[in-house]
Assembly symmetry: C2
């Protein structure tokens, strides 16, 4: 039940209406690892960092069953750095700084020990790099899940279309789904996107939950109503990590099991937003996760009998 996770390991500096951090640990693959490692180990990490990425953070990941053979350390460059400021509604943010640093050199070579992995999570990256990872695998994984963003739709659409043909599940947010499909209705958008390659589409709507589409089937998972969203950074990646972790643990790629995986992902994301960065994800126990998942059951569970 091995999982390869490809993405960034980085530093973030975050401002929200509730507070402000100095440089803290971030990056899509970091969040995926902290979420997924609750469900499946090892996680075969593929990323790139600079000389400044802390050894304690690497040790912490190793302790959680994250293999770092696929993480390149560049001795003379700094790690990727992103800084942003969230608005009051927490659904929109301004990017203040993007220092690509080592990311400019990212051209991952999969270690031989990563071959044969059954599950592949492609974090948001240049679609050319995402494709390179897929084509390096001698045996196609049982399930390939991919995240992307509007940036690649704007500057690398032909490359994105090539990569989309190779994946099973695409995860995007609602505005990205609209942009990718040129459809306003998310139902119509899903139909268009599923013609581009992915047989499954997950549309993340932040505080408004997530939708899973497959053929004519649709499933909806709410976000947990929270008193305060402290910092949404990484929530989407944490969702992906919980989703992939559950799928890899159960090795069941049916639509039914993907529904459960979305609930697991939503539960993990609900922890992520409670503190800055991945801080909260480092604290939680299996009991916390089980309790949170039960809250989702209560949140949507209802009895129905026919109504007349």
């Amino acid at each position: 039940m091995s999982l390869i996770s490809v993405g960034t390991m980085a530093f973030d500096a975050i401002e929200t209406p509730f507070g402000k951090t100095d440089q803290i640990i971030g990056g899509s693959a970091t969040y995926v690892a902290y979420a997924a490692s609750n469900f499946v180990q090892p996680i075969k990490q593929v990323s790139i960092v600079g000389f400044d990425f802390p050894k304690e953070e690497m040790d912490e990941l190793t302790k959680r069953g994250v293999e770092l053979d696929g993480v390149e350390v560049v001795a003379d460059k700094k790690s990727f750095f992103w800084s942003g400021r969230y608005h009051m509604d927490m659904n929109t943010r301004d990017t203040l700084v993007t220092d690509l640093n080592v990311l400019l050199d990212f051209d991952p070579v999969l270690p031989e020990s990563y071959q044969g992995a059954e599950f592949l999570m492609l974090g948001n990256l240049d679609p050319v790099i995402q494709k390179k990872v897929i084509t390096q695998l001698k045996t196609r994984p049982k399930l390939i899940v991919m995240d992307t963003m509007n940036f690649w739709m704007e500057i690398a659409m032909p490359q994105l279309e090539e990569t989309l043909k190779l994946v099973d599940v695409l995860m995007v947010n609602d505005s990205e789904a609209r942009q990718l499909s040129a459809q306003f209705s998310l139902v119509k958008a899903a139909k268009e996107i599923m013609k581009m390659g992915p047989k499954y589409l997950i549309i993340k709507k932040g505080e408004h939950g997530a939708l899973l589409f497959h053929g004519d089937q649709v499933f909806f998972a709410p976000a947990l109503p929270l008193e305060a969203v402290f910092d949404p950074t990484g929530a989407g990646d944490t969702f992906a990590g919980g989703f992939m972790g559950h799928i890899a643990r159960t090795r069941d790629i049916s639509f039914e099991n993907m529904k459960t995986a979305i609930i697991v992902g939503s539960a993990m994301a609900s922890f992520c937003v409670e503190k800055f960065g991945p801080e909260r994800l480092k604290e939680i126990t299996q009991a916390d996760i089980d309790e949170r998942i039960q809250q989702f059951v209560s949140l949507v569970n209802f009895d129905i009998e026919l109504t007349h």
Copy 2:
């Protein structure tokens, strides 16, 4: 299992990105009646119309078990008229015309035959009028549900607060909940509003579903993902009608049954938006409703086992 429904019966003229109507039938009590009458009859209607309100519409309502003894007909005035234009996202609209007409004289006197009703639905109206209806009832209904809007928060907040003390369930949309409570978080907003009187709060979020709060409990019902929302006019009132209809049919005011009622309300609202005005609500059969409710079951139903 009698239900009193108080609200407007009116004319609307609607523009959406998909089309435009001339004057068609509208009004909160009209939508409530078309939705609720699928589940419970009679519905004891309280409203006011002008000389121009069509006899065929009255006959149609009568046929569906709507009692009109409480509907005042003013011989020398026109019915309430509202005209609006929806934006592309269908969540926002501009009011083009509001002709209050007979609504200026609305001072309902409950017919003696309405006494003893077990359920009361107060559509969005001046809170003073809502209170007058409550105080005319010699026996307090088992459940009083009230809708309101931001307009009354702005011009009649003390009166609104008085009426809120007398009701069991308040239904508002998300921006109204924020305005009423001065809280941005809907969880915090719910706590504040439940201190003002209502023991239950339903927050309608349009295409993003609806939340039910009661004490520390919370339930979420999604909206059905639709290819096209043709006209959202009346969706909130139709939701209220489905909710009240289910409650009045089952005579069960438990939190558990309110969850089911919210699903019924959401199903009815999903029909409402498919055509202009109440047109679609007039067409649907019990079989259509059952099928739609099953779609909601599929939409949110998932299997969970503990995740490790």
